[in-house]
């Protein structure tokens, strides 16, 4: 009787994980859900008295396949958003949460997901000149009192579309887009 309940619970977990895998927006979470799916499948095989298959499923399903997908994700195009604040003397978790709730960053992240790029937000204490010289950032956001300044590379065509997007919508915070050329700074 107990094994039947355990099997049913495992099957439910598998169905839930399969749903989460296709519904989630973040690809890395999808890989993790797939690993959990495989692990519950291998536990189910143990209940069905097939330990050989269970070992193979555990190693391949949640080990090899997850690692393969992770290394594939590594070369998936990541869009790095650098956030530089002028009033950011010491960054705390609360502060980061506050910024993350900021609508502009949220919109940019949604836009990146729509364009099949994985958004990655980096909060840094660098000054704006250092951040612009840092070539890791695709786009740099600077917060100053009352407004937000968005720095993008000249050849970065996503910046144009972002500017268009923000000019269509009207919003409370002021937003201006600044372009720079490679290596020139501002």
């Amino acid at each position: 009787m107990n094994t039947i309940i355990a099997e049913a619970a495992l099957l439910l977990v598998m169905a839930l994980m399969a749903l989460l895998t296709i519904r989630t927006q973040i690809l890395r979470m999808a890989i993790v859900y797939m690993g959990i799916f495989s692990l519950s499948a291998s536990l189910l095989y143990v209940f069905y008295r097939a330990p050989d298959v269970a070992i193979a499923e555990a190693v391949i399903g949640s080990g090899l396949v997850a690692l393969l997908y992770l290394s594939a994700l590594k070369r998936y195009r990541v869009y790095t958003i650098g956030v530089v604040g002028s009033n950011m003397p010491n960054i705390s978790d609360k502060h980061i949460l506050e910024i993350e709730r900021n609508a502009v960053i949220h919109d940019i992240a949604d836009f990146c997901v729509e364009r099949e790029r994985e958004p990655q937000t980096v909060f840094s204490q660098e000054s704006i000149d250092e951040a612009l010289l840092n070539t890791n950032y695709d786009i740099v956001i600077e917060e100053h009192d009352g407004g937000i300044r968005l720095y993008g590379h000249d050849e970065n065509y996503l910046v144009d579309e972002l500017e268009l997007l923000f000019s269509i919508r009207d919003r409370d915070t002021e937003l201006e887009v600044v372009r720079f050329r490679a290596g020139a700074g501002i």
Binding site: G63, L64, S71
Partner: protein, 128 residues
């Protein structure tokens, strides 16, 4: 994922010997406990791939690995050819267990090399 993660690097370094030991245990005990060549081989291959995630260095010579894998396949074909097909396993029953262990070992090595080559080639592939 774009940069090296020290958590993953440290944990992989800690687990490295245990995973090797576990893989060889599964291969060597395949004849009287669950497991076998394929399962143990994939455990060892997963180790190499975890190493790729931590340190993506191209210091393996793929061609050598491929030749070794082919050699293992030839051995894998030869062993049953001389032992099973002439019916020796019915005459000399004391060689049955060593035969199983040897076959599991060969299969494990071949599977681990094959999966490692596939994933490494996939990982180092660059367009153009």
């Amino acid at each position: 994922m774009t940069e090296k993660s020290s958590i993953i690097a440290t944990m992989t370094g800690l687990l490295y010997p245990f995973v090797v030991l576990f893989g060889f245990y599964i291969i060597a005990n395949g004849h009287n406990s669950p497991g076998g060549g394929f399962q143990g081989g994939s455990v060892i291959a997963s180790l190499f791939i975890a190493r790729y995630l931590v340190l993506p260095a191209d210091d393996f010579d793929m061609d050598t690995l491929h030749h070794v894998e082919k050699a293992f396949l030839v051995l894998l074909l030869l062993l049953p050819l001389v032992f099973i097909f002439p019916g020796l396993h019915l005459m000399y029953e004391q060689f049955n267990v060593p035969y199983l262990i040897a076959m599991n070992f060969l299969i494990g090595m071949k599977v681990s090399l094959g999966l490692t080559i596939i994933v490494f080639r996939f990982g180092f592939f660059r367009e153009g």
